[in-house]
Symmetry: C2
Subunit: 258 residues, 2 copies
């Protein structure tokens, strides 16, 4: 009996997060769960949403997934730069969201250069992803998806939303409902359904949900809300959506094959 | 500027398949798509379902996902053994589905011992998974999930279905509908919805669908059907399910947060 073959490296990284951001004509919706864990016996609560706002000037929101130390550190670097005065480019003086996305990519690369190799040595998940969006006075709202390598893409009318983390369970309803022209209210409702579907299927994604709604050209936060287990609206969505699906299923005719 | 850190090995293997099998009191449902590809420019059609049946004696069905050469070869080894006479255990003389699952695990290990290292050298996907189930006279129907390493688990009343390949998009409807006591007709309907959801979100999963329905203690195939693009029932499920979801969504009340 020959030796068993080497199997592929076990580098599957479970998604411990769900974040979604939708860039619509009416504005941008940001939402993230708040569960982190290092194994099921070590579950914590960390907001994955960070807001940088100067009313009338700029609203910038980040959502993050992956290794919490990497994403937190990258955001801390961004933060320090913003407090370092205007000798260099930072969140507070950048004139475009494109420059802001670049700043975030650079910060992430700094952290990964420092910590990445040490994490790799012990096979610790070194993934880190960001959604960053908002509006700076003088340009329209913009939304970016910053990858673990620090490069990024921008949402377009064709693809107006991004997800990071556990993306699959919550994607179908977004694909069916969300268009660039969808209202902020419908998009908020869709976001709740998307989170409900995700949390139903992946216990590593959990309440509370941080929700932020930005309305185009207001340059201030329209709605910022933390949705807890007890939230009556979310509970209603959970119940009525489940019942609705079962009702639609029951109404489908039977196959006549047998 | 320091060197960028080594990123994790790129060993994500896209799922090019969706297979599901449900072990119910009434029988077992098997279904698989028929798309294989090596890159989007090389798409082929291979049935992922194989049936070994001796009416009145045994019905054994396999579904496979992963590297086609590995899964095909493993099944060919099973097949050769069955034609090799009764000097050794094979599909035709095994007295339990447990022994059949072991045979399949051994065949897969044989192939991986031979080909695995060569695939690894070129970073070729060496994954291979099987669902194998059915009934052998003298014992109840049984269903197993054989992993890439040749070990396996059996479906139970608590967990009465298995999926392999692109499992996520098609899972929620199964979780909402399927119980051990679900009828074969409802389970067939649910299987169609599960495939529709999967194919809508993952283009690497495609029609036709091979469907096989086995009814407990009959020891013969109740229904074996290939569902093509033109199948009116599947088209109806696709349309009515999509409309139903949008209807349920539209009926959800709006949040009163804003």
């Amino acid at each position: 009996m020959p030796d068993p073959p080497r199997t592929q490296p076990a580098c599957h990284v479970p998604s411990m997060t769900y974040c979604v951001a939708m860039s619509l004509d009416a504005g941008i919706i940001f939402a993230s769960d708040s569960r982190t864990n290092a194994g099921v016996d070590q579950i914590g609560r960390f907001s994955k949403m960070k807001v940088f706002a100067q009313e009338g000037e700029r609203v910038i929101v980040t959502l993050s997934s992956g290794n919490l130390s990497l994403t937190q550190n990258a955001l801390s670097i961004l933060d320090q730069k913003a407090r370092g005065g205007d000798s260099e480019l930072h969140l507070g003086n950048a004139q475009s969201m494109f420059d802001v996305a670049r700043l975030l990519g650079d910060s992430l690369r700094d952290v990964k250069s420092r910590d990445g190799p040490y994490l790799m040595q012990n096979n610790v998940d070194a993934s880190a992803n960001f959604l960053i969006g908002g509006q700076i006075r003088g340009e329209p709202p913009r939304l970016f998806n910053v990858y673990g390598e620090g490069n990024f893409i921008e949402a377009t009318p064709d693809t107006c939303y991004f997800q990071i983390g556990e993306t699959k369970y919550g994607k179908p309803i977004i694909d069916r409902v969300i268009k660039r022209t969808t209202s902020l209210v419908d998009a908020t409702k869709c976001t709740m359904v998307s989170f409900d579907s995700t949390m139903r299927s992946n216990i590593s994604v959990g309440l509370p949900i941080d929700l932020l709604v930005y309305e185009t050209d207001t340059l201030r936060i329209k709605l910022s809300r933390r949705i807890e287990e007890t939230d009556p609206y979310f509970q209603m969505v959970h119940t009525q959506w489940g019942e609705g699906l079962r009702r639609v299923f029951a109404q489908l005719p039977d196959p006549d094959w047998t």
